[in-house]
């Protein structure tokens, strides 16, 4: 089934183009991004349920205008023929009035060249098996309620088994003097969250699913028994004795390392600010010989996939690390112009209301040839780290913080059955990457969460990889 472009954007496309064409009579560069994202989130728990619009739902526009020195932007969401005059007045106030006032206050401006574009007209209409809009709310809530009930039957220790399903249909148009682009993409995500209690001790875990899929994603939800079993084991988990260990990271944790520990450090707006240590390693070995890493809207088919980014740059497939050598960063348009590099189509906004930053899309370690069994067998004393709760980047100094959900003890090449949780992995990124000695086959990506920059600017990304063996500091 085709995910057609929103009828609203289709109808208002000419109005948006007219606004840009009018502004182009005054300003040398003008572009408009129009967004109409529709989505719903369905959630069930033992004590209630909800069906609400997705947090990603939005409809609005952002204009980017060259102000003679650099770029100014105006975001708005009231846009009919009658609003054109007031929008132009607002743009004038920001592009001319504010700039003049700030100059008058002796504020110095960072200058940018005029954006030069090639003539491009293109569109992307993605397809899914079952468009979410063709399935009733009743069917969706009944389906996830059934999964919840199946989960709740598995243990008396469960105080809840929550299931969340989200469907998002993104429609975007981009128009400038030379570009006329549109895209329509559907993705869905889901998560199962068992919560167990023993005395006053409460533990929970989750298993998530995502993809450029429709309602059919819910057919992927599996492994309830193992999920509940592992969550119950957390009740008896011990804290790790702080120290350095041989570790195997499952694809989720490997993805966290690729994303948080490394990916943020090669976002090239950080290069412009001299905030990224990655600059020092360009063209140099940064990781173990078996390590290659990719990012890009076209590097995988997941929630970070698109035809064009929020600046109208076409998405690419970027090899960030090639067999240990740091080859390239990922870039938005303005940063690339400042650095004299080619933009990689990574300019993304949290919403039409927000500024563009260089952001990841689909980020992952490229699969290798090692077998997981061999990796476990090679460890004298260490842990198999599985899943995570959060991570935080430190692109300048390349410290890492990964809050890992659980670790399975390995002694003399065998899993002992002992669980540690939670686990805080810290350290220095190049040390961790260089310590990667084995990489398994079988790429797994997850796009169920959201990625922030600092403590804001959330965008959908997918991360992942394979099983990797490394050395990590756990606490």
């Amino acid at each position: 089934m085709k995910a057609e472009l929103s009828s609203y954007l289709s109808k208002h496309r000419e109005l948006a183009k007219g606004l840009v064409d009018t502004l182009l009579k005054t300003y040398e560069y003008v572009s408009i991004l129009g967004v109409d994202t529709k989505g719903k989130t369905y959630a069930v728990s033992r004590k209630g349920s909800s069906i609400n619009d997705s947090m990603w739902s939005e409809r609005g526009y952002v204009l980017r205008v060259f102000n003679g020195i650099n770029y100014s932007e105006y975001s708005f969401n009231e846009f009919q023929e009658k609003d054109i005059r007031s929008i132009i007045d607002e743009v004038k106030e920001i592009v001319e009035g504010d700039v003049k006032r700030l100059k008058g206050q002796n504020v110095k401006f960072s200058d940018y060249p005029l954006i030069e574009e090639s003539l491009i007209k293109d569109s992307l209409i993605k397809e899914v098996k079952v468009l979410p809009s063709t399935v009733s709310a009743k069917t969706k809530i009944e389906k996830i309620t059934q999964i919840m009930n199946d989960g709740l039957k598995l243990s008396d220790q469960l105080i809840d088994f929550r299931v969340v399903y989200e469907e998002v249909h993104i429609s975007k148009i981009f128009y400038s003097a030379k570009k006329d682009l549109s895209q329509s993409i559907v993705y869905t995500t889901a998560a199962m969250v068992p919560i167990v209690k023993k005395d006053n001790d409460i533990k929970y875990s989750f298993k998530s699913y995502s993809g450029l899929k429709g309602f059919e994603l819910l057919e992927d939800l599996d492994g309830l028994e193992k999920l509940v079993e592992d969550t119950i084991k957390l009740l008896d988990a011990e804290r790790v004795v702080p120290g350095e260990y041989e570790i195997i990271c499952n694809p989720a944790v490997a993805g966290l390392i690729a994303h948080e520990a490394f990916g943020h450090g090669v976002e090239m707006d950080m290069f412009v600010k001299n905030r990224a240590k990655g600059v020092e390693f360009l063209g140099k070995p940064i990781a173990g010989k078996k390590v290659s890493m990719k990012d890009g809207a076209l590097s995988a088919e997941e929630v970070g996939t698109y035809l064009f980014d929020d600046e109208g740059t076409l998405g690419t497939d970027t090899t960030v690390i090639n067999e240990s050598v740091l080859e390239s960063g990922i870039s938005d348009l303005l940063s690339a112009m400042k650095l004299g590099t080619k933009p990689t189509g990574n300019g993304r906004r949290e919403s039409f209301e927000k500024k563009v930053y260089a952001r990841m899309t689909n980020t992952f370690f490229v699969p290798g040839n090692d077998e997981l069994e061999d990796m476990i067998a090679s460890i004298k004393k260490g842990y198999l780290l599985e899943d995570y709760n959060s991570g935080m980047e430190d692109p300048k100094n390349w410290g890492i913080q990964c809050m890992i959900a659980m670790g399975r003890e390995i002694i003399d090449g065998k899993l002992t059955g002992k669980i540690i949780a939670p686990v805080l992995m810290t350290g220095y990124v190049p040390d961790l990457l260089k310590s990667i000695s084995m990489v398994s086959d079988g790429l797994e990506l997850s796009g169920s969460g959201a990625c922030g920059k600092g403590y804001k600017e959330y965008v959908k990304t997918s991360t992942g990889g394979t099983y990797i063996k490394a050395v990590g500091r756990l606490g």
């Binding site: 609203y8 208002h12 728990s45 033992r46 004590k47 209630g48 349920s49 069906i51 619009d53 409809r59 609005g60 650099n70 770029y71 100014s72 932007e73 105006y74 975001s75 708005f76 969401n77 009231e78 846009f79 009919q80 607002e90 920001i94 504010d98 700039v99 006032r101 700030l102 206050q105 504020v107 110095k108 401006f109 960072s110 709310a137 009743k138 105080i159 809840d160 919560i195 209690k197 804290r239 702080p242 600010k273 001299n274 905030r275 209301e353 500024k355 959060s390 935080m392 430190d394 300048k396 100094n397 410290g399 890492i400 913080q401 939670p422 805080l424 810290t426 600092g454 804001k456 606490g475």
Partner: protein, 432 residues
């Protein structure tokens, strides 16, 4: 627009509705070093409508609800479609019955802001100057700064006659500072939230973080330290007390996470300072001040934890109804009582002060906490040495009986509480 929606709601099946209408204008500046990299503005209108549908199933009454965003560009037909989809969905949302918020005669405590005295644009030069006037060091600087001022006109209405409108100003500066001494350049991150224009406060915060960045540049890797108490500071303290707020929240009680009765001992056998927490609708310079919650429930100050015991539940009308307590609404500001020990006494004996983290987190459900240390100050009894790296982990239940709160306070946006909390019984992982 609102009257159109209310009119359309009359033709859509519902047993009640709630409208949250927010019109926000902003001015935003983005600096790299001292140069303006981009300026932005926005004017956006957000309308969220919740449609409620009551139904009976097996003799039990339920209240379903579904919230949808109504865009100001939606046609009459689109609005009706969205509301009908929400109404239909609400019919499948099986939540125990509860009452909607009724209009109240309680006095509304409106958030105040000196930003209201002029145009938002007038304050931008002063805010920029307040950051850069203290950016005068040779080895360190403001690497980048983002400035945001928002004015939001908020209106909350429901089908029972609630109709509350107020204006709110919020500001935010995101700041990256860097510093280079002998080895490599380092950076720290700071987010300053405010609702009052106070350039001196902002300058002080910037100067403070610049000095901390200098210390980070001079810091050594955290060595193994045994039996040294830790002084938590800044945002870590705000995170810590969320553990107690969750235990006083009606929602997790209803969901079966906790089952404390009023008067229950939350903090254990306290040998240190007892926890006292009040939530307040209005706190000067907080961006979370509000006369009512998003359901239109009028807010008042509530003391939730008194001397380590549960004193009052907090919760919106729905969850308070469920657990049979008096609703308080969702209140955005927290005040934690300070202790009686001055900073000078807390710092008399050896201590490790944790100044900055990558991201200090407390899981309010499990009580587990942890974070990678970006800057710490260790006092060995004679001198103070800055350290970085390594991490702290632990559980609130292990530290809560021995916590000592400083006499001095601090405000971090919507949190007012002790400047320092001294803890023991945690795990410190050295950097190397």
């Amino acid at each position: 627009m609102i009257s159109r929606i209310v009119s359309i709601l009359k033709s859509v099946k519902n047993d009640g509705w709630l409208i949250n209408d927010t019109l926000t204008e902003s001015i935003e500046l983005f600096f790299v070093k001292k140069d303006l990299d981009m300026n932005r503005g926005k004017k956006v209108h957000h309308i969220n409508v919740t449609v409620y549908v009551d139904f009976l199933e097996d003799g039990t009454k339920y209240k379903g609800s579904s919230t949808t965003n109504i865009s100001p560009t939606m046609s009459e037909e689109e609005i009706k479609d969205s509301l009908e989809v929400a109404s239909l969905a609400a019919g499948y949302v099986k939540n125990e019955y509860y009452d909607l918020v009724s209009p109240s005669n309680e006095e509304l405590i409106y958030p105040s802001s000196n930003f209201s005295k002029g145009e938002m644009r007038d304050y931008i030069p002063g805010l920029v100057e307040s950051v850069y006037k203290v950016d005068n060091f040779v080895n360190g600087k403001v690497n980048s700064a983002e400035f945001f001022i928002n004015k939001s006109d908020i209106r909350i209405m429901n089908s029972l006659g609630v109709d509350i409108a107020y204006t709110k100003f919020t500001g935010m500066i995101e700041l990256i500072t860097d510093w280079k001494e002998d080895i490599e350049e380092v950076e720290l991150y700071q987010m300053i939230n405010f609702s009052e224009y106070n350039s001196e406060d902002i300058s002080r915060s910037v100067e403070n973080v610049l000095n901390e960045t200098k210390q980070r540049a001079l810091a050594k890797p955290l060595p193994e330290l045994k039996d040294v108490p830790v002084l938590l500071s800044k945002g870590a303290i705000k995170e810590l007390f969320d553990y107690y707020k969750v235990r006083a929240d009606a929602k997790p009680k209803y969901e079966g996470f906790f089952n404390y009765e009023i008067g229950a001992n939350i903090q254990g056998d306290v040998k240190g300072d007892k926890v006292n927490i009040t939530v307040l609708p209005n706190l000067v310079n907080s961006t979370k001040s509000s006369p009512c919650d998003s359901n239109g429930f009028v807010l008042k100050e509530v003391e939730i934890i008194k001397d380590g015991l549960l004193n009052n539940y907090i919760g919106d009308k729905r969850y308070s109804n469920y657990v049979g307590v008096k609703p308080t609404g969702v209140i955005g500001n927290t005040k934690v009582a300070v202790g009686s020990t001055p900073e000078s006494i807390l710092k008399k004996d050896p201590y490790l002060e944790l100044v900055a983290f990558s991201d200090f987190q407390v899981n309010p459900i499990t009580g587990n906490f942890g974070g990678e240390i970006r800057l710490a100050r260790y006092f060995d009894g004679e001198s103070v040495t800055p350290y970085y790296g390594g991490s702290i982990t632990g559980n609130v239940t292990s530290i809560q009986e021995d916590m000592i709160f400083s006499k001095e306070d601090q405000q971090i946006n919507n949190f007012l509480g002790p400047k320092y909390v001294k803890i023991k019984n945690f795990s410190l992982t050295p950097s190397e």
